[in-house]
């Protein structure tokens, strides 16, 4: 109950009791309370005139890195003798040094500056309001306001870059890159033999083939390497990512998406990202550092969601260029098989990176024969699913999350560097 009401009621009661009983002493007891109320109203805070400026030492950080938030408050209004300032932090950010709440006295025209350090897990954190609560010294009369102090912080996922991922989409773009384009021309890998054309370097001439025909000279042709369209699909469906005791494997999927996106962009490809969960969050394909930043921002915001519409895996094909390379990152469930096969049959090259939910959940469970039996059954089901996908022509990488992602992907998908391929192809000739 408000203290003003308590003291008001007591004053009222004492006055009534004093008047009815004709006792001046009882009436006199109301005097200190009345004076208290009077003091509270007299020294109570007036309308706020606070001017607040927020600065962040960095607006994009890696998870666990500190960022310093500085708030500069100028009092353009009247004297505030008991002012509580509270910077309202979104869930996920924690104060590591200093305090996000201060209790101060602020004279008219005075400037108060305060800093504190926060750390956070992956996410997007809008910093919108500072809560100011001013009271008189006796704490009787108060005023509370949420003062807008806009700011934002991105805690971007960070993962080691995966280099030289071997993909072979059916269609590539026109720019030179590292993806074999299924087209003859200048390159490293042997592609075929054709008739010599003026301008062909002499060392391309295939003397053995030319020796068979007296009137023609033949040249070797190499496979062109170009950039490709790559679509990364991150599966954010809650029901398959959230396992027992609220533990989620989704962070591993985000890490994989970060690592792959970084690797594909670094190789010059045009990369897009689709986060599939409560709703579809689509980052339009693009090249370069700007696109990398856009994808990282999308991944920072990525969260689990549940929706009846997206409970099954239905990938909207119109978002991705025809015959492009797709990478799905998902723990998978048995019902996803049909959707993936349908997608593959539409002409897309599909790689599925599947963080293994069985080994992930098993690491948190006590060792017992029941748990082991259950794990075996689920693992067999999963292996059958993965095997069926492989038989449908889908490349599958089963990732035990206890192992570093880059090691698993390098072993499963990497192609040797160009110089090594050149040596190998040279030795083969």
């Amino acid at each position: 109950m408000s203290r003003i009401i308590v003291s008001g009621l007591l004053i009222f009661t004492l006055i009534i009791a004093g008047l009815t009983a004709f006792r001046g002493e009882v009436l006199a007891l109301a005097v200190p309370l009345a004076l208290y109320l009077l003091a509270g109203f007299y020294w109570g805070p007036d309308r706020f005139g606070l001017e607040i400026k927020r600065t962040l030492s960095l607006d994009r950080i890696a998870p666990g890195d500190p960022v310093t938030i500085t708030l500069e408050i100028k009092n353009n209004g009247t004297y505030l003798e008991n002012l509580l300032l509270e910077d309202i932090l979104p869930a996920g950010l924690t104060v590591s040094t200093g305090h996000s709440r201060r209790l101060i006295t602020l004279k008219q025209g005075e400037v108060f500056k305060w800093s504190y350090e926060v750390r956070g897990r992956r996410g997007y954190y809008p910093l919108s309001n500072l809560r100011a609560s001013a009271k008189d010294l006796l704490g009787l009369v108060g005023r509370v306001e949420q003062i807008p102090t806009p700011g934002q912080l991105f805690v971007l996922p960070s993962a080691p870059r995966v280099r030289r991922i071997s993909i072979r989409p059916r269609m590539t773009r026109v720019y030179a890159g590292t993806i074999p384009a299924r087209i003859g021309g200048p390159g490293i890998e042997f592609f075929g033999v054709r008739e010599y054309q003026p301008g062909d370097p002499q060392h391309w001439i295939n003397w053995r083939a030319s020796a068979r025909y007296s009137n023609s000279i033949f040249s070797n042709e190499f496979e062109q390497e170009r950039v490709a369209d790559v679509g990364i699909i991150l599966d954010g469906r809650r029901e398959i990512n959230e396992l027992g005791s609220g533990r989620s494997i989704f962070e591993h999927s985000v890490l994989a998406a970060t690592s792959l996106a970084d690797g594909f962009i670094a190789a010059g490809n045009r990369v897009g990202l689709l986060v599939y969960g409560k709703y579809i969050n689509w980052t339009y394909p693009g090249y370069g550092k700007l696109q990398r930043e856009k994808i990282l921002h999308s991944l920072a915001r990525a969260d689990l969601g549940e929706s009846e519409v997206f409970s099954g895996l239905v990938i909207p094909k119109r978002l991705f260029p025809a015959y492009s390379q797709m990478v799905l990152i998902s723990p998978l469930e048995s019902g996803d098989y049909e959707g993936l096969v349908r997608f593959k049959s539409a002409g897309y090259q599909l790689i599925v990176i599947s963080p293994d939910p069985v080994s992930f959940e098993l690491s948190f469970l006590p060792v017992s024969s029941t748990v082991e039996l259950a794990a075996r059954i689920i693992r067999i089901e999963r292996e059958i699913l993965l095997h069926r996908l492989q038989r449908a022509g889908i490349q599958v990488v089963n990732w035990n999350t206890a192992q570093p992602f880059e090691n698993v992907v390098q072993a499963a998908l990497s192609r040797p560097p160009a110089w090594l391929r050149a040596i190998r192809s040279g030795s083969g000739m």
Partner: protein, 163 residues
């Protein structure tokens, strides 16, 4: 300092009022008040709202004591200590929200100064009523009270507007 003052004022308010009741031979009421005091102190550790209940009970006990003509100074002192405890309970919860970098000592001293001023003024006026006695009939007293309340509100309004 605040915690000690809060405990002392709560303890003193109960002790002083209960002493008044003991002196008058009203032992049951006195023990009842001591029970209230114990509950007040215990609950106050976690919930500050109990101070409002405590103040209300002590105010009623002091008013009843005055009605039964128990020693006035004990009743007034008990009421003022309870009033102080009520104020300090709120102040303690407020100050807990600050951090070590804040100038909490200066804030606490200013608070005590203002509370002291209010209590001293209140006590002074209560003391004056012992010596200045005017006789009014009920209608006159009620009229004066209403006029007093109205006058106080006007005064507060003017003071706040800085006139």
């Amino acid at each position: 300092m605040i915690a000690v003052s809060l405990f002392l004022s709560t303890f003193l308010s109960i002790a002083v009022i209960a002493a008044g009741y003991f002196n008058a031979g009203m032992d049951i009421q006195a023990f009842g008040l001591i029970g209230v005091g114990v509950v007040w102190v215990l609950i106050q550790i976690k919930w500050t709202w109990v101070a409002s209940v405590g103040l209300s009970i002590i105010t009623l006990a002091a008013a009843l004591g005055l009605f039964y003509e128990l020693p006035m100074w004990l009743m007034v002192a008990g009421f003022l200590f309870a009033f102080m405890a009520w104020d300090l309970a709120e102040f303690k919860s407020r100050i807990k929200q600050g951090c070590e970098e804040d100038q909490l000592n200066s804030l606490t001293l200013n608070h005590f100064a203002r509370l002291g001023l209010v209590l001293a003024l209140g006590f002074g006026i209560v003391t004056l009523t012992r010596f200045i006695r005017l006789r009014f009939n009920f209608e006159m007293a009620a009229l004066l009270t209403l006029a007093g309340v109205w006058g106080l509100s006007l005064l507060v309004g003017r003071l706040r507007r800085g006139e």
